[in-house]
Structure formats: structure tokens, C-alpha cells
Symmetry: C2
Subunit: 103 residues, 2 copies
DNA sequence: CTGAAACTTAAGTCGCTACTTGACTTTGTT
DNA sequence: AACAAAGTCAAGTAGCGACTTAAGTTTCAG
């Protein structure tokens, strides 16, 4: 799932879509790659629930799906807070040792 | 930088380190790969400022570096809020159209 | 109906990346 | 001193992943 965000072109797609929906051709033009390559990127982004798309007529319109972004954010926050809480506990232990230096 | 988080073994290292520091050998044992491979992962994690490490004697001890986590979190938050603000503006436009249906 | 536009799918190429093995350096133990 | 432990470095290999080209498919315009 972070794998989807690891590619610069896919991140560019995300950034583009935060400014509004876009078609496959538009995204391809902006990235400077083939339409086929863009479709493959979109497949990855959809599998990670970072992008949704809907086809009407012959044109597929893509937009952000907040679910994936929230998941990624949640994982990072979990790691960071776990680390911070550990530091808190460590600080408490050190404080105890200061107050009561006897082993 | 997201590339560092894209690998499952590297994420496992992060998760392990949130529970306290560890040596290279300990991390290698937990991952089930060679020490050499683990060193390579650590190199990537350090380049992204996700992990710091210090060598004392012949043993290197690793711990979380919050800088990278914060950067990743910030990028995700930027994208998410940009998207939410866009929805807000869109909502405002639709409200205007309701009030003033004349083209 | 003909043809172009927008996308889809399949196959192939090429570079990158994770991993290993093996040789080496440094540090600690007996 | 001699050996073991912990890590580092350098190649080498296997597989994945991003991209392309080429051949469909579907939809819309004239």
C-alpha cells in the first residue's frame, strides 16, 4: 500500500487529483508517458483505495479516494505515537532513578 | 522517501524499533534474512531519516528517528486537506447554484 | 456505415532492487 | 596470541516493476 505511494509518477497523479478530477488522457499528458502506462498506475492506485474512477461513455474520470490516504496516515501516526509513548515511559523510569538512586 | 516505507521488511524494522532500540543482528534474526541484507535496509532507512544508529564497540544500535515519519505524515496531510478544501469550495459552488439557478 | 477518439489488454524490454555468498575489518574473550 | 562475534564491503543473481509498442474494444460524430 505504501508501495503505491513509492512511485513519483503515482504521487504526481495524487497531487493532480487533489486539484480536481481528470481523465486518463489528461493524466498521461501531464506525466509525459503513454496512456497505457497511466492505466497501469491507476490500477495500482485503485487497488490501494487511493483513487476511484468511473467510466461514462468512452472516457474514464478519476478522483481521489480518501480511504487509502487515511490508512497510510493512520499507520504513520501509530508508529510515531508508539515511539513517543515509549520515550515517555523511559523518561519516567529515568526520573524514578533520579529520585531513588538506590538499586 | 516513501520508497523506504514501500518494503515490508523495512516497515517491520520500523515497527520493531518503536518498541525500543535493537542491534543489527537482532533485526536480522527477526526478519529472517542475512545480516548483510539488514545492513542494506538500514542504509535506506537512514538515508530517509527514518532511523538513526550508533556504533559502540563492535555492536551497532538502531533507533527510530522521528524526522522521516513526520515528513511522510506531513505530505499525506497536505494531500488530504487540499482535497477536503476542494470539496468545500465545490460544495459552496453547488450551494450558490441552488440559490441562483439562472445560468 | 466509416472513421476517429478514448481506453483496454497482452507481450516484451530494460533497469532497479532485495537478497545471497564470500572475503575482510574491528572488537572482545580466553 | 588465538579465536569468535559483530558488522562491513563487493560482486553476482533472480525477480519485480515501469515503460513501450501493437492489436483489440467500445463509443461517439458525420
Amino acid at each position: 500500500m505504501f508501495h503505491a505511494l513509492a512511485d513519483a509518477n503515482r504521487r504526481a497523479v495524487i497531487e493532480r487529483l487533489t486539484r480536481g478530477p481528470a481523465t486518463v488522457s489528461e493524466l498521461a499528458a501531464q506525466l509525459g508517458v503513454t496512456v497505457a502506462a497511466t492505466v497501469q498506475h491507476l490500477q495500482v492506485l485503485q487497488d490501494s483505495e487511493l483513487v476511484r474512477s468511473e467510466k461514462v461513455g468512452r472516457v474514464r474520470t478519476c478522483q481521489i479516494d480518501p480511504a487509502g490516504l487515511r490508512n497510510a496516515e493512520a499507520w504513520l501516526r501509530r508508529q510515531r505515537t508508539a515511539w513517543e509513548h515509549r520515550l515517555d515511559r523511559l523518561g519516567a523510569v529515568l526520573d524514578d532513578q533520579k529520585k531513588e538512586p538506590g538499586s
